[in-house]
């Protein structure tokens, strides 16, 4: 973030750049290091997930899980607070290591105490905040997070969040009127950084793709465009683990899926 970059550009760009500089200077903590982050998320946030910050993901458990996956795979302990119906298998498929994932399904009326105690020891906490949280409590938890360098992903609105990630325009691939099965979802994820920290960024992502992971959807693999090869799986080594084709309980799994696919691609 060098000041010399502002050689050309309009006033708006200048403002954005200055705001970025201010934001950079506000983060005065020396050890506010970045967590390992999936490249799709990092490009949306304009950098990695920051240790000691809070992120708000109001409407998608899958997105919160995807944000947790990269740190978890890199050896960070994660916790899920207040979500008794968290899809464990989907999390495992998304790349979360269950060996280092701990659940507090029902914190009861001690949400703040429990979340703070958990945040003391783990790197990433995914939590559903209660409908009303007092501003003082938000600040206390925020201070606790900064002190311990752990990241909160709040499944709901969180006043002091570093960024809010919203999912819009869900388009499911693979399901038709009466046939097919869900294969992947194409969504637009929009990131609003904290007030005055730049314009919202958005990207089109597959959440989840056929392997249950997060994937960029800008460029649709050529294979998808030919009606003959429908399986939504990129032929790249990144698409591990390769799941075996599953025995389906449906009449014709392939044929009717062509139409929605094409609609998406065009």
């Amino acid at each position: 973030m060098s000041p010399a970059v502002a050689s050309s550009g309009s006033a708006a760009e200048k403002v954005a750049e200055l705001q970025a500089r201010i934001r950079g200077m506000q983060r005065t903590r020396v050890d506010s290091h970045g967590l390992p982050t999936a490249p799709e998320i990092a490009s949306l946030l304009g950098g990695p997930l920051r240790a000691g910050s809070a992120y708000s993901v109001p409407d998608s458990v899958a997105l919160a899980t995807a944000m947790m996956a990269a740190p978890s795979a890199a050896g960070v302990w994660c916790a899920v607070v207040g979500m008794p119906s968290f899809g464990v298998e989907a999390a495992a498929a998304a790349g979360v290591d269950l060996e280092r994932l701990v659940f507090v399904p029902d914190p009861g009326d001690q949400w703040l105490t429990v979340t703070a105690a958990v945040a003391d020891v783990v790197g990433v906490v995914v939590a559903v905040p209660p409908a009303r949280v007092a501003p003082a409590e938000v600040s206390r938890l925020g201070a606790r997070l900064r002190g311990k360098g752990s990241t909160l992903i709040a499944l709901g609105d969180w006043p002091q969040s570093e960024a809010t990630l919203r999912v819009s325009g869900s388009e499911w691939v693979g399901l038709d009127a009466g046939s097919g099965h869900l294969q992947a979802r194409r969504v637009t994820v929009t990131v609003n950084a904290r007030a005055g920290a730049g314009r919202p960024r958005s990207a089109s992502l597959f959440l989840p793709d056929a392997d249950g992971r997060l994937r960029r959807a800008e460029r649709v693999p050529a294979a998808w465009q030919s009606p003959a090869s429908v399986p939504l799986r990129e032929q790249s080594p990144a698409a591990v683990p390769q799941r075996e084709p599953q025995p389906l309980q449906q009449p014709e799994p392939h044929e009717p899926q062509v139409a929605p696919l094409r609609a998406l691609v065009s």
């Binding site: 409407d59 298998e89 701990v102 029902d106 429990v114 105690a117 979802r185």
Partner: protein, 533 residues
């Protein structure tokens, strides 16, 4: 080999409690439960009877019988699983009581122990009276059918104790053990592979076996055969090696006035917990598993074993006592019956050396454990869980939640095995990110406004057009929505071979908000199993 060739047999006293597994099981069940004299009980191991009570034996039940066969011989047979830990646990206080009367006891197995006869017989004025004293000691513990055999060597004494009859103490005079053993069958040596061979050779009694040439026996049957040969000749060279009594590590607290509140009991137990951990620490040990037993006013006893991923500190012990008492209720909840006493004993210990902190504290996992233990003491044992994937048809049964610090039920291996099974009917494609604990009622209607259903042939009565769910406030979507796309029915028959059988149909459905649902149609009612959000 424990044999010492050439040594003269030690004069040995054997205390034998017949059918100990049954007696131990009855003791474990507590007072007021079944008695080994009155009920037909069988303990089974791997589908075969391991031990049975006297009335069961009278009804024809034998050790080694298959359970079904045993039940057909005795219809009111109570069948329970055999647990060797119970045997050992119940025998421990009896050994302690015997050790107060005679020192130097060797426990041969649970229910049988050996003592050198020389000392007690001199002290108590004869072998017969020493034996009677031990019988009296056991009677005080409610063991009325114990037998005592005194002879030269452990083997002969054991056979003397086992001779059928009503007399409690059998003494084989010194030097006449070979004579006593002579008429007994070779099966008593307990070598299954030896018996048919010896019978083929025309050797049926111990005397006949003892008469064989020792060198030929060694050549033909090896070292173990030679050892058996010496046993048969009454030349049991094994000495009684007295056990070193283990340090008393278990602690117990009695409440003069029975307490009926969890916090009172926890407070009353605090010092005992500290003493317990200190005693273990003095022995340079740490406890990695403990057993907490609670006696209540109404004569009942509840015991549970608690594991610890590292080792127990005093507050950990206290937490476990509290969790066991409250059993899912709050801290200030009343108890079913007032608590008379609480005891805690180490179930497995380890050298403290292996658990010492490093010079700069332990690893990162240690702080994680402390953090979660804190949350557990706030919310209870089941408040903090980890998830293990396993097999199953419905999504909610495909993962098991295990309390922090516990082992998964059935063990890691069993879960892994279930995970490998094919589970036909599993959901294809990516998995839903929200799996409801219990299915949530929803509505699916066709164009005519009727509830969509599946007829007896598995055909839909109409196309799903409208979908309504009472949940999903986060996406702002309760109320009715048009259906965008759907698929199904995918039939799934669960446990058709037993009572809990049910047949359900699964559907996937995307509503107008773009939310994808995994739905279940069971008994003409619609439920949401999971949500892809």
């Amino acid at each position: 080999m424990t044999a010492v060739s050439g040594a003269t047999p030690t004069r040995t006293l054997i205390v034998w409690c017949p059918d100990w597994p049954i007696a131990a099981w009855c003791r474990e069940m507590g007072a007021g439960a079944l008695s080994s004299e009155g009920s037909t009980i069988a303990l089974v191991e791997r589908g075969e009877v391991f031990a049975c009570s006297l009335p069961a034996r009278a009804a024809g039940v034998r050790r080694g019988l298959r359970v079904r066969e045993a039940q057909s011989r005795c219809s009111e047979l109570i069948v329970e699983a055999y647990d060797p830990a119970v045997d050992a646990r119940a025998f421990e206080p009896i050994i302690l009581a015997l050790e107060e009367v005679v020192p130097g006891i060797q426990v041969l197995r649970a229910g049988m122990c050996a003592i050198r006869a020389q000392g007690p017989s001199r002290y108590y004025g004869g072998e017969q009276s020493a034996g009677e004293l031990l019988i009296d000691t056991l009677a005080r513990f409610g063991i009325h059918d114990a037998r005592i055999g005194i002879a030269d060597g452990i083997f002969a004494a054991e056979q003397a104790a086992r001779v059928p009859g009503t007399e409690m103490v059998r003494v084989v005079p010194a030097g006449r053990s070979a004579e006593f053993l002579a008429g007994l069958p070779v099966e008593l040596l307990g070598r299954a592979e030896l018996n048919p061979l010896l019978h083929q050779l025309g050797v049926h009694t111990l005397a006949q076996f003892a008469a064989l040439d020792p060198v030929s026996v060694r050549d033909r049957f090896g070292e173990d055969g030679a050892f058996c040969h010496r046993l048969a000749a009454g030349l049991d060279g094994r000495d009684v090696t007295a056990r070193v009594p283990p340090p008393q590590l278990d602690c117990r607290v009695e409440f003069e006035t029975p307490l009926d509140r969890v916090d009172q009991v926890a407070f009353g137990f605090r010092q005992t917990a500290e003493r317990f951990v200190a005693t273990i620490a003095e022995a340079r040990l740490v406890a990695t598993a403990i057993r907490v037993e609670v006696h209540t006013d109404d004569g009942r006893r509840t015991g549970r074993t608690w594991l610890h991923p590292r080792w127990f500190t005093a507050s950990d012990v206290l937490d476990r006592v509290r969790w066991q008492l409250q059993g899912g209720h709050g801290i200030d909840a009343g108890l079913a019956a007032p608590v008379v006493s609480v005891s805690v004993s180490p179930e497995s210990v380890d050298r403290a050396l292996n658990h010492e902190d490093g010079l700069w504290g332990g690893g990162p996992d240690e702080s994680i454990h402390h953090g979660f233990s804190r949350v557990q003491s706030m919310l209870g044992h089941e408040g903090v869980v980890t998830a293990v994937l396993t097999g199953g048809r419905l999504l909610s049964s495909r993962s098991v939640l295990v309390p922090w610090g516990d082992l998964p039920p059935g063990g890691e291996k069993e879960l892994a095995r279930r995970r490998q099974l094919p589970w036909p009917g599993s959901v294809p494609g990516p998995l839903p990110s929200t799996v409801f604990e219990a299915p949530v009622p929803v509505l699916v209607r066709d164009a005519g406004g009727r509830l969509v259903d599946v007829d007896g042939r598995g055909i839909l009565t109409g196309e799903p057009v409208v979908f309504a769910a009472g949940i999903g406030e986060r996406s702002g979507g309760s109320g009715e929505h048009p259906v965008r796309s759907w698929s199904g029915p995918w039939p799934l028959s669960e446990r058709w071979w037993e009572d809990g059988a049910r047949s359900i149909n699964r559907f996937q459905l995307v509503d107008a908000l773009g939310r994808a649902w995994l739905l279940i149609l069971a008994e003409h009612e619609w439920w949401a199993e999971a949500l892809y959000d």
